[in-house]
């Protein structure tokens, strides 16, 4: 079982307590009515689906119930780091070579 660090509970907790909630850092337009159909499609349906590092929202559903963001490697399924919702995308990942 994976252990995922919840930034609110400040410890690693078992995977079963968590739910994935899709890709992170997708900003909703402030003026939705003015969004063109193409832009709306990009915002609503199109996801990056990378092979490698992905930024995701996760929810500690059966714990503190808070949403947070996580950086995960889709190849190894390893969690590189987690951080609180609302915080900016980390500039440097732990273990990054540069």
């Amino acid at each position: 079982m994976l252990l995922i660090r919840c930034p609110y509970c400040e410890e690693e907790r078992p995977e079963l307590e968590f739910r994935n909630a899709g890709e992170a850092h997708i900003a909703r337009s402030a003026d939705m009515a003015a969004t063109s159909d193409d832009d709306f499609e990009k915002f609503f349906f199109i996801r990056s689906n990378p092979k490698g590092i992905i930024y995701e929202r996760w929810r500690h559903m059966h714990g503190c119930a808070r949403f947070f963001n996580a950086v995960r490697d889709t190849v190894s399924d390893r969690f590189l780091m987690t951080y609180k919702a609302g915080e900016p995308k980390p500039a440097k990942l732990p273990g990054a070579s540069e």
Binding site: E15, L16, H62, C64, A65
Partner: protein
């Protein structure tokens, strides 16, 4: 006006007979005993940081701010569930909802006394029994006495509180209580074997 009168009389004497789920059920196996605990008053409390001090004062118990902790005073226990969420359990019949009603600072208190059923799991094999369906580390280092957490047991969500080194209080939803008690009963037999 009729509404106000009805409200008053309801507070004075409950018109509906309370029929707690599973009441009196018990099970003892080698090294572990299960018992359904008597009904208690409970609230689900949500509040921002600024309101915590006033609410703590009104409730008579300091709301814990550290994850996975609880605080108890005079029969009333406050369990940290999230950064702005607590479960307050009163086992001596003083309704915490009434205490919160007098607080004017921003908060949300919802009475959930009848929603939950509490089961006590005690004995040297208590942690092993709960661990049969709960993936958390329940060693005394990771989950000391007084530690509390919302987590899962088998297929349902529970709130777990360690009341002593070999005793736990399992809070589950009333409609899940049959499942939880049966699950723990089977687990207790396994832990005993």
């Amino acid at each position: 006006m009729a509404k106000a009168a009805a409200k008053k009389s309801a507070a004075a004497a409950p018109s509906v007979e309370r029929r707690p789920a599973l009441i009196g059920q018990e099970l003892s196996a080698t090294g572990v005993a299960l018992a359904v605990l008597p009904p208690a008053e409970r609230i689900s409390l949500r509040a921002p940081d600024a309101s915590v001090a006033a609410l703590s004062k009104a409730l008579g118990v300091t709301l814990p701010r550290k994850p996975k902790t609880s605080a108890a005073r005079a029969g009333r226990t406050a369990l940290w569930l999230g950064p702005d969420e607590w479960l307050v359990i009163d086992e001596v019949g003083r309704d915490p909802l009434a205490d919160c009603a007098e607080v004017t600072v921003l908060h949300s208190a919802v009475g959930i006394s009848h929603r939950n059923v509490a089961i006590s799991v005690t004995g040297p094999a208590a942690a092993a029994t709960i661990n049969s369906g709960c993936p958390q580390d329940l060693s005394l280092d990771a989950f000391p006495v007084g530690a509390a957490s919302r987590t899962i047991l088998g297929k349902v969500e529970i709130v777990l509180l360690r009341t002593a080194s070999d005793a736990f209080r399992v809070e589950c939803w009333r409609s899940f209580s049959d499942y939880v008690f049966l699950f723990l009963s089977e687990a207790a037999r396994d832990a005993a074997a």
